[in-house]
Symmetry: C2
Subunit: 213 residues, 2 copies
């Protein structure tokens, strides 16, 4: 039986959402953040030596890292659903957004969070270039979603599951006004109507109103 | 024809290396960093709207993001080489390290770089927790390589191609003494003997002595 360890208000919401989309059996265990530091509790950190969310168990397997877990669950239990094959015309786009979410976009947002928390200090060209990536990422997303309904094209895929977190719940930590991004806002509304997404958010973070605008 | 745009001393060394491992035809175009800022030149940034290395062209396809490019090239031209299938006992490990490289480890190293460049400033528990990830990552890698010759087990895979950069060339930007990590050092020696790696580094960064110890 698949066990999904969900840390409140974290990237592990993706895994709960994927399981709901696939309608596969899984056990959900919720963990709350420390109310003062907002960090994961010790029992969550102990689940995997890297100590970050998400983490799943599947028999002897203990697996971390969103991209790895989603690929794993889809391959093992999802029959390849929500992925595109190499001969699909949107294959490269599918791969790009799937990897861009954590490889570049979450990195840009995390650096933004760090720079904003550290008061004062020097802002040299390297730092400025790293900060600029947040806006380049949102501009890139806006452009993509002004052409297609979903990241990989006109069908919902795992790229959407990877990309949603930096556009929604991550804004709890790095607030950003989405007014300049009408296509992103339309996309978030579209995702918000998905019953699986609604079920996942209700189960995973019942006290959070999903940041869909 | 596949074109690999290699920015000197950057993550795009992975793509040159992959092409050499697969022994597939490709055109290599090198770009030097600005000697003062160490940033990518404008012509490199113009290749893809996100402006980061690596970038490849393949016919009409313009693709960025290491993980996406490696998956793409292996699927299109590599016949699935250097990947593991879902029924392989090391499948979850393969996925983990493949995604961990940029999803978590490069993020931890980039945050380290940013914090060290910004003089002074507050170090609150969230910042400390993010910085701590660098050491947790290296400890995790050391433990893995003390058991297996390669990241996914006893065979060389694309996980090794993803993971090598944060262990080697990234140390140009975030220096780190590898003395406490004997298994990582033994692994780097092992990779350093691969003819494809040697060819790739000579072609991509002829003036750089690979950071293999």
């Amino acid at each position: 039986m698949l066990t999904v360890h969900h840390l409140g208000i974290s990237q592990s919401e993706r895994i709960v959402w994927l399981c709901e989309e696939l309608e596969i059996p899984y056990q959900l265990i919720r963990y709350d953040r420390d109310p003062k530091t907002r960090l994961a509790p010790e029992e969550y950190k102990a689940l995997h030596p890297f100590g970050t969310a998400p983490v799943i168990n599947d028999g002897d397997v203990v697996l971390a890292e969103s991209g790895a877990i989603i690929d794993y669950i889809i391959s093992k239990y999802g029959n390849g659903r929500f992925t595109l094959k190499a001969d699909h015309s949107n294959f490269a786009d599918y791969l790009f957004w799937y990897h861009f979410a954590n490889g570049s976009m979450m990195q840009a947002l995390s650096i933004d969070l760090v720079v904003n928390r550290i008061s004062g200090g020097t802002r040299d060209p390297v730092i400025e270039s790293l900060l600029d990536r947040v806006y380049r990422a949102f501009d890139l997303v806006e452009k993509r979603l002004s052409i297609f309904d979903y990241f990989a094209g006109n069908e919902f895929t795992a790229s959407d599951i990877m990309m949603l977190f930096p556009l929604t719940t991550m804004r709890v930590y790095t607030p950003l006004d989405l007014k300049p991004y009408p296509s992103i806002r339309a996309y978030l509304k579209r995702i918000g109507t998905r019953p699986a997404y609604q079920r996942a958010m209700k189960k995973g973070d019942p006290d959070l109103i999903p940041l869909l605008d």
